[in-house]
Symmetry: C2
Subunit: 354 residues, 2 copies
């Protein structure tokens, strides 16, 4: 007998990092910022007239789009906003990846890419990173339906230089190349300038890490006006009003507060560099992270041991146990300096016990 | 030469009602509530610690899901939440409509259904409503890939009784039947009780109309735990954290304030009934609306005339000029009593001029 269950889209969903909520926890598992968002966000809430919430938001989220465009020196028609960069990336996949040829991305990268490909029935091939977690450029020279590069890459933290990206793009002018810059604010450079040269390059960024607003779900894409218009057509075919009124106003206020942003970013980067030295001292190895996390492996002790022992102390880090290439790595988000000092103490204890 | 443009998903997007923002306007074009949301929403904002916004939301939106379940006497595993009912419906289409057979819905109904079908490449057939905008039940007896019924229907405002829905569902136990109850709080009854009898019925509702929270983008679906689990798998394959932290807390607080909700709902319904009498007096005809809008046609004067003249006075209503069956109808949202009195005065002036 036929059943409604025959017509289900069955899919193995992405599993996000857990969201424990313990008063004494040190949460270093989902790459959130340890510092609060800009005080300008508080001002938005303090002054907000809730009567406005009875109305639909502006479908174009114009206040937010304009603020992001201004910050980045772009026209507003070069900016697309969504409900976190996951929403932005999902729409980009749906909009641009409708070829029969496979899209390409690395074997070790953001683990949502293959989930979206499955969801939207996009063929894909994962190209292995080399043993230093670097891209093999020539893997991306052949025919394909599009390319996705996280830069800096996650969970490795490793960054590709602009000339490597440019080389890959030069070999792929007939497909869309997405550069996912979720962590770019903790690195030295963005590939944003490439959108002036290439009409097929889309840069995706997020408010969730460097702007301390993971809870407000704001992400954005930047590219040629043609790319952005195509994404908006798909967006408006899915949901006319994706962003809450509060997200739009909070996002616009936050991006205008450059001084606060620079200060908080510097704090995270300084703590990251301190943590790298300590991890080296304790016998960990890792790529040169340009993000707000470090992806590290101990020379002798398995990742699972650290993961479980830290958890007992309510210190949460992330592990990707299902992937044999990286099962011994811990992805450790950068917390406050104080939190990282406690982490290092605990790692040292675990190391001495084993 | 091949181009990235060859792989675009090209689609005619849904066009939402315009969002004018004039200080003196009377906005009756997008079925928003004229009254502010519950004062409990203000309390949430007043007490909110913005430091929490640095963290991702709970992927399950549990506070909100639990509050909706409690309000409706359901288990939490029977409730799904999304970014407005548009997001909820889009995910339901993606999850449940993967048959080669066409899904069915009326020719005059919420104009997003065919847009989602196009977006997700779902075959569909639109069944004409009869001349009183009523469903022809037998149109839904044949083989199909699923059914979508807006009840009360939009933009007609007409409601189907439960026995009609039950009849359609009894003929369609092997597909999912979605009942879109965006306007149900302004009618006498919901089909919610049917989810206890039928594991293939999904009820979709929204906070955007009766709860005065269009600006916060909150919608929900209710159905068997199996239906909800399937939607969650698709949801988590698209975006792990769809709802902002503020949406979750505001939504939970709003639905718990039943007294305020009942009072505002009664005000809208009372004004609707007053407006019906006045429209009849002015020579309009309309179905018996059980929503927060009236879909009305004048016996002699074309809809376009009223639409344009009202617009000059900054009174915005909605018209569906592209559809010949309904091009002379105006969809007039119910505003405050005072706003509707002004509307009636202006309609009367226009009538006398023509």
């Amino acid at each position: 007998m036929s059943s409604w269950k025959d017509n289900l889209r069955t899919i193995e969903p992405y599993v996000p990092g857990e969201q424990p909520d313990l008063p004494d926890m040190i949460k270093l598992n989902t790459n959130e910022n340890p510092y609060p968002p800009s005080p300008k966000v508080q001002e938005v809430l303090d002054q907000y007239d809730i009567n406005a919430l009875r109305l639909y938001p502006d479908p174009n989220s114009q206040h937010l789009v304009d603020a992001i465009a201004e910050y980045n020196g772009l026209n507003s028609d070069q900016v697309f906003v969504g409900v976190g960069s996951d929403d932005v990336l999902a729409i980009a996949f749906m909009t641009f990846f409708n070829s029969k040829k496979p899209i390409l991305f690395p074997d070790i990268t953001y683990s949502f890419y293959d989930v979206w490909a499955e969801l939207f029935q996009i063929p894909y091939v994962q190209k292995p990173l080399d043993d230093h977690f670097e891209f093999v450029r020539s893997d991306y020279y052949g025919e394909n339906g599009g390319i996705v590069i996280a830069n800096p890459n996650a969970p490795t933290g490793v960054v590709q230089e602009l000339d490597a990206l440019r080389d890959i793009i030069d070999h792929n002018r007939d497909v869309v190349v997405i550069i996912d810059e979720a962590y770019v604010d903790f690195s030295d450079h963005s590939a944003l300038e490439l959108i002036k040269e290439y009409d097929n390059v889309l840069i995706v960024q997020t408010y969730s890490k460097s702007r301390s607003l993971a809870g407000m779900r704001i992400g954005h894409a930047m590219g040629s006006a043609e790319l952005i218009a195509a994404m908006n057509d798909v967006r408006f075919s899915y949901n006319s009003y994706p962003m809450t009124r509060l997200s739009v106003e909070i996002g616009a206020a936050a991006i205008r507060d450059k001084a606060y942003f620079e200060e908080m970013r510097k704090r995270v980067v300084d703590t990251r560099e301190w943590t790298k030295k300590e991890l080296t001292r304790l016998g960990f190895t890792f790529g040169d992270s340009k993000t707000n996390f470090i992806f590290a492996k101990h020379k002798t002790i398995p990742g699972e041991v650290f993961f479980d022992e830290l958890r007992k102390k309510h210190i949460f880090v992330r592990r990707f146990g299902n992937n044999p290439r990286i099962k011994d790595y811990l992805r450790i988000s950068i917390g406050t300096q104080k939190e990282m000092e406690i982490l290092v103490q605990e790692l040292e204890k675990i190391e001495k016990m084993h």
